[in-house]
Amino acid sequence: MKKLPLDGVRVADLSMMWAGPFATRLLAEMGAEVVKIESPRAWDNVRTLLPQPGAPEPWNTSYYFNDYNRDKKSLTLDLSQPRGRVLFLELIARCDCVIENYRADVLDKLGIGWDVLRETKPDIILVSMAGFGKTGSEKGFVGFGPIIEQMAGMASTTGYGDDGIPYKTGISYGDPIGGMAAAGAIALALIQRRKTGKGAWIDLAQRETMAQMIGPAFAAASLRGESPVHRGNRDARFAPQGVYRCLGPDLWVAISARDDREWWALARAIGADDLASLELSERRERHDEIDRRIEAFSARFLPREAAELLQRAGVSAAPVQDMNSIHQDPQLAARGAWIELPQARMRTWKQPASAWRLVEAKPKLRRHAPLFGEHNREILCGLLGHPEGELAELEAAGIIGNAPIGAREG
């Protein structure tokens, strides 16, 4: 069987919430062995953020936590206790990478900063992904994805255009963007380490990776002093373009006529032959009128019906997938984009397969997200060689555990 790219790479994962765990999900999908480290007193908050009503062990039964932490191992360690730190550093000596998304000052305060890690493992790779970086006058700002999006310029580019309001993305967009960049940063550092034998400390400010997503806006601002224009769903280069109401509540189809040919096809398909010869400048001027004609057409169909009909006519169109319809999407189904991973404490549900589809290696997701402390024995006794008898001692001292201390049962 063909190896996955990151087979043989071990990652110590101190990250929590979404940005860091998203990075390590990608690394795990690419074959890395990811050891997720949580303290019995300070666990990944996502485990218990949205508990299933009445579910026992809510920290082990969160679909939210499961989706972003599958294929990882769980080690619990209280890093605020000296013995916890010693065990952590023993693990680091056997790891290639460490990743953390604490606030900028936390790793040092825990006594496991870059100098300590490098002393333990000279070629270690550390990725720190604080919201605003480890340096600079804003390093003390606290950032989650929705904050990052505002502070990186992204929110300023998004709006309906008629109310002057900037809008946040419907997801905490800064998180997965930071995570994707962090996964690439680890791969880059591994490449460099192969050449030089040296590790690296990567200071990834999530605000800066997010700002990259609107790179051309900075060119416009610096060259011409321009601020972002809110265009709603329209495009500066094409017309018409928009999201149009379909048959049923909150059902929509997205349509874009990218050139004269697509416009001609769209006009014919919606029965607006009288407008088919309009040039781009005329379509821009009469965009509102054209929108009404398109909506008179789209309102007769379900989103997929409208999109398929327009695609057959030669027009760019797609249903606006909501959270339910996306799990029934024929394209995603045909590509096996959803998988179900058995988990003893939960029924299965559709989780996304790896979007980084290696055509030859065909990575298979191996297992559900780890139960809290599920791999304590495997790692502490198997990998680090501690006697089994030590586990009870560590548990009694609250250094390890198989349930978060103070978490509420469902």
């Binding site: 600079g136 606290v142 950032g143 300023s156 997801i171 960049a181 900075f218 769903n233 996306i326």
Partner: protein, 360 residues
């Protein structure tokens, strides 16, 4: 200097001419790869996109036969043509992989190489719609709203960049590359926060929440623009205390269940508290109280931001319209070079000589 860059000596061929491939290879060029862009005709990128995404790349104009030779001389090929387009030009990814086992090929498309919609026409908006994020953005009483600046394509490019690096590491470590088939739709569908998993688990629909997710998580109008807070339970006490607002100091507000059942009322009070504050004051309050506070910054604001300046975030690049400032290295800790913009096909002769050892 160049030899110290992490990707020095790595050859990357960019074929396609769209935003996804251009963004995917932008960071590779900055980190030292010799990125060669096979220009499309007509050019698919706008002038600001070119300024932001093409610095540091050499540009060639060659026929399909030479392009194939360049692909086989590369370590990484990144392309964003339609499924089958590369094969139609004599560069079938499977054949290229058979000829060069270490080669990494990254194909970036709206819907992937296979499946009933693989050949669907797609614009950024329609690809964004298919991936689910669009349906969550905006407010419930209005249509779903796209993000600014072609996020379906940029997201696809970012995935392509990181995936290329992971696969390239695999090629170096195990001697085998691979062909990556990455779809914009799947990239988005796999990052729907908790809304996607929740619907998959129990069919709970998601409503567009606009700028107010809950009473302690939102963007609000302030005296000089818009600012926001994102306080989870851990930060709620600090935020409520920070406001020094008697109504928001009610101890019942510390209970998530109480906040949930009085969300609108508390949220309105929080909005009132924000109304007369200024962005920088709010950010300072957030920092000193360890509360996640934000302010809506524009690109112009960020170009003047002291922290980004201190961290050396922006690169300067000469364009035909003058000097542009664009995002430079995505993170600190690896050597980076700010590249220059090259003219279309300007490097054909040099690249053919360097990569193929031949004159054009």
């Amino acid at each position: 200097m160049g030899e110290d860059l992490p990707l020095a000596g790595t050859r990357v061929l960019e074929i396609g001419g769209g935003l996804p491939a251009a963004f995917a290879t932008r960071w590779l060029a900055g980190f030292g790869a010799d990125v060669v862009r096979s220009d499309a005709a007509p050019e698919g990128l706008g002038r600001d996109e070119q300024a932001a995404l093409l610095p540091g790349k050499r540009r060639v104009g060659v026929g399909d036969e030479k392009l194939r030779e360049l692909a086989l001389a590369a370590e990484i090929v990144v392309e964003d043509g339609a499924p089958g387009a590369l094969a139609a030009r004599g560069l079938d990814p499977r054949e290229l992989r058979r000829e060069k086992r270490a080669l990494v090929i990254v194909s970036l498309t709206p819907f992937g190489q296979t499946g009933p919609a693989a050949h669907w026409r797609a614009a950024n908006l329609t690809a964004h719609a298919a991936g689910g994020i669009l349906s969550l953005t905006g407010i419930a009483s209005r249509p779903p709203l796209q993000n600014g600046y072609s996020q379906a394509w940029m997201l696809l490019g970012l995935n392509g960049s990181s995936a290329a690096l992971a696969a390239y590491y695999g090629s170096l470590a195990h001697g085998e590359g691979d062909w990556l088939d990455i779809s914009a739709q799947e990239c988005a569908a796999g990052m729907l926060e908790y809304y996607g998993p929740r619907a998959a688990f129990d069919n709970t629909p998601a409503v567009r929440l606009g700028n107010r997710v809950n009473c302690l998580w939102g963007i609000f109008p302030v005296a000089d623009g818009f600012a926001g807070v994102c306080a989870l339970q851990r930060q709620a006490p600090a935020f409520l205390n920070m406001t020094q607002d008697p109504e928001l100091s009610d101890p019942r507000l510390l209970e998530p269940a109480y906040r949930l059942s009085n969300d609108a009322q508390i949220g309105d009070r929080v909005a009132r508290w924000f109304r007369d504050k200024k962005k920088l004051d709010l950010l300072a309050m957030g920092e000193s109280n360890k509360v996640p506070m934000g302010a809506v910054m524009t690109p112009l604001d960020l170009l003047a931001n002291a922290s980004l300046e201190e961290r050396g975030f922006f690169d300067a690049v000469q364009t035909p319209a003058g000097e542009a400032r664009i995002p430079g290295r995505p993170y600190l800790g690896m050597d980076w070079r700010a590249g220059e913009l090259h003219a279309p096909a300007a490097d054909t002769e040099a690249v053919l000589a360097d990569w193929l050892g031949a004159a054009s």
